[in-house]
Amino acid sequence: MALRLQALSKSYGGKTVIDALSLEATSGDIVTVFGPSGGGKTVLLRLIAGIEVPESGQVLIDGTDMTYATPDARGIGMAFQNYALFPHMSAYDNVASALTPRKLGESEIRSRVNHIVRLLKIDHVMGHKPRELSNGQKQRTALARALVGAPKILLLDDPLRNVDAKLRYEMRLELPVLLRKFGSTVLYVTQDYKEAMAIGNRIAVLIAGRIVQVATPSEIYDRPATVEVARLFGDPGINLFDVTPDTDGRVAIANAQLSIGAEFASAAGVPCVLGIRPDAITVSQTANGATFPVDVVAETPLNDRSVLLLRTADGKEVLAALPASAAGTTPIGAAHAAFASASALMFDRASGLSIARGARP
């Protein structure tokens, strides 16, 4: 195991920020750490880097206890959202600053730096000072500096936060491919769920100092462990209904009794939250046994879908995401909504934990 965190805890002024957190990552793993702000993401990276020391628990790197080792003894590379480049040094010297001339010699340093900056496509700006670089070039220079020492563990703290949307998208496509070439174990903090899904082969969802779920992006999206995880993934976000399934697997939504399948009978009598993603909701002008009455309040087109805001008679707001081809086809006013129960997610209302789900996810 390249990186093993065991029951790490850290608090500031009596407030627990990291709470008995355990996580493992193998060599070559790219784990994105995602969660709401204030959840402890940056503190977690600082504990691994050795900038902070935990109150309890261990940081093991390649099986060696590094909990109290100095940052430079850990074999870790880091890059931050604000780049943290030395303004008076050229881009080349910034990258080379991660290597010690005493150990390697000038020519070895030159060859390592050149190799990395060519891969990152910034070799042509190595003579420039940071202020002469675009944000994307600064970000790549910081990344090159983090990678040049061939770290076993690479920690990236929201590295795309300050680059514009177009470049962020390009980097989202390129970065995982690039990172795999280096073979480092990567922990990548982000506040954007799409970035978390695109870049990581696994996602660790960090909420209030605890890792609530670690799984592949598809698993997290389709089988969220808690209602909170379900809420954090998807745009527009998941619809949540308070329901109590009966023994036949039926639930009441907006005064309609909807049969959602026998797999939900296991939750009979339990106060639950039913989660339905907006793209699983359909709207039509005709009622049947599987629909509930709604008012179509507004249609707000998205880039490649169209979002309907629906309201039930009891004032509950529901979002439906239709394919772009259906844009403009639903009149404002009374209608009937249905959802594919195969994509339904059921959570225990008291604990928030997933207790049943439809056949598809």
Partner: protein, 380 residues
């Protein structure tokens, strides 16, 4: 837009200019000869990146900024020389802040003063508007004790609660958490539409512009690039800037040459394959364009690139599933082509991937000026 067929023009902007000239600083021509007409009940987005002139335009309409030249007519009256309070506009601006000594409730109610409503009616309107933007829980707090997002919504409520000829909103939902944003967009759009309120809002976020606006004014370098519905911006972008700015992820572009071959068209991509398009697939607009020019820039939106079947071949460089969409990048014609589909696609990096796109989804641009030549889905 059927809802506006009979609607009267409410705002007429004619050759509006804004020039900032300060001693010892270069002159900035922030807004250049801007003309636009907005009908009663329309929701308009001014969309562009920072420095494009959108905020200067909004501030000139509001009266927070003087006009260098040109005219602004609102509900039949010339307003460009009037003070803000005499223009009949309601506004929510960053920096046009809430009154610190008043509670959120009193801040919103203050905007209703001029309307001389009965106290109970006014109080009901305040609560309804506060509920709309999800701040009814902080009505009795003071601005300094609520979050930035709540302040922004309180400011929005203060603008929306009153009657005005025009509502001017500056990045109205910039600070909202994503979970709330989609619902709030729907509520605000419904409020504006139900009451035939005319609104202009500034945003740098095209998702917000698409969601709310009937028409979007795309600005760049102080110049209005195109003023059209989101659908028309997608189908008929007027130039390469608009084409690559509108739509996420950005449109794929290739240098190419077009020639007629028999009844159809042959499209040769630079550093890439030649594609034969049968006559029936090519719109008259495209056919007409071929007569006069051959070297063009070809644009295809990622949503229009078909993967998993087709006669073209790319090498997959990445394949990312985002829960409801696949984003696939492939090496193609010496460049990267991006495809977006709602299907899960099994394709590993390094694998060969069949690709195709339909002639109806092609956009052709002049390679030198960037001006649109033809679009696959427009009538000739």
């Amino acid at each position: 837009m059927s809802k506006f067929v009979t609607a009267a023009d409410v705002l007429v902007i004619d050759k509006l200019n804004k020039v900032y000239g300060r001693p010892d600083k270069p002159i900035v021509h922030a807004v250049k000869d801007l003309s636009m007409t907005i009908r009663k009940g329309e929701i308009i987005a001014l969309l562009g990146s920072s420095g494009c002139g959108k905020t200067s335009t909004l501030r000139m309409i509001a009266g927070l900024e003087s006009v260098s030249s040109g005219s602004i007519q609102l509900a039949g009256n010339r307003i460009e020389a009037l003070p803000p309070s005499k223009r009949g506009v309601a506004m929510a601006f960053e920096g046009y802040s809430l009154y610190p000594p008043l509670t959120v409730r009193d801040n919103i109610a203050f905007a209703l003063k001029a309307q001389k409503l009965a106290a109970s009616d006014a109080s009901k309107r305040v609560i309804e508007t506060a509920r709309l933007v999800d701040i009814e829980g902080v009505l009795d707090r003071y601005p300094s004790s609520i979050s930035g997002g709540q302040q922004q919504r309180a400011s929005l409520a203060r603008a929306l609660v009153r009657k005005a000829d025009l509502y001017l909103l500056d990045e109205p939902m910039g600070q909202l958490e994503p979970q709330l944003r989609a619902v709030l967009r729907g509520r605000i759009k419904s409020l504006l539409n139900d009451n035939a309120m005319t609104a202009i809002f500034v945003t740098h976020d095209q998702t917000e512009a698409n969601a709310l606006a009937d028409r979007i004014a795309v600005m760049e370098g102080g110049v209005l690039q195109q003023f059209a519905s989101q659908k028309d911006l997608k189908i008929k972008p007027s130039n390469l800037f608009v084409a690559t700015f509108i739509g996420e992820p950005p449109m794929n572009v290739f240098d190419a040459s077009l020639t007629r071959s028999g009844e159809g068209v042959s499209l040769a991509l630079q550093d890439g394959p030649s594609i034969s398009l049968p006559a029936g697939e090519v719109s008259p607009a495209v056919l007409n364009a071929i007569g006069s020019r051959h070297t063009i820039t070809l644009g295809i939106r990622p949503q229009n690139v078909e993967v998993a079947h087709g006669g073209l071949k790319g090498i997959v460089t990445s394949n990312q599933w985002l829960g409801d969409q696949s984003h696939i990048a492939a090496e193609f014609a010496g460049k990267t082509i991006v495809a977006v589909t709602s299907a899960r696609v099994a394709a590993r990096p390094g694998a060969e991937m069949p690709l195709s796109f339909s002639a109806a989804d092609m956009h052709l641009f002049d390679s030198e000026t960037g001006a649109a030549i033809a679009h696959g889905r427009e009538a000739a």
